[in-house]
Symmetry: C2
Amino acid sequence: MHSRFLDAFAVGDVFMTRAATFTESDIVDFALKYDPQPMHIDAHGAAAGPFGSLIASGFHTLSLSFRLWADLGLFATTNIAGPGLDEVRWQKPVLPGDTIRSHCTVVEVSPSRSKPDRGILKVAFDVRNQRDETVLTYTIIAMLRRKPESAE
Amino acid sequence: MHSRFLDAFAVGDVFMTRAATFTESDIVDFALKYDPQPMHIDAHGAAAGPFGSLIASGFHTLSLSFRLWADLGLFATTNIAGPGLDEVRWQKPVLPGDTIRSHCTVVEVSPSRSKPDRGILKVAFDVRNQRDETVLTYTIIAMLRRKPESAE
């Protein structure tokens, strides 16, 4: 898809990303660097634990689900900055072999009052596994450029 | 530090993590996997951009600042799950060579009413760089075990 200025998004727009699969080695590699809790790195201990296997770090699921959105290219050249995220909720564990997709819905489009060249886009993410179960939800806040015409 | 049950945390407790430094290769490696926007991977383009250099993906700063907390070991053996994050706000860019620490303040300790063996811990993160500027703030929500005695 082509990169879009803020003006080309409308509340209610829905975008579906491609899928990505978590391997055990991806899960362990990420966790060793960023979240070395036993449930993410100790395969033997995790096999006897509540999930029967390792589970992915929530920060890994979050980062990879955002990558899927980035690959849509919707704001590749129009994104100025990422001010934040709201209400990140890990709803179900992600295990090795699980495949996720992000279902992304535009929930706010707000041109800036003080800076006419930009505005805020909010997108709600519903990240689902191969059984269509929601594993993670969150909302991104992005600052996008507006169409040059509207800035004049 | 030793791992703590929920009961050993009190609102207002403050914990300071060790520091960690972002290298340009760390920034690019993370971004190629999880956030391949030009500002994180195109060193030549970024040199001519608003920051004069690459900047770290916000998901990288978030993940690494959590790693610093995990290394304190405060809930290494008592953490049941990570339900979520609230109000993630990237306040300033993080550049190659920048060093961060997480200043962590306990803001809520809530024993579960329905399950006496556990409860919710909320910790507010203030992630600062080597100039003591806040680069990122967020609150984690963790589900921790309670002391076995209090569950009986």
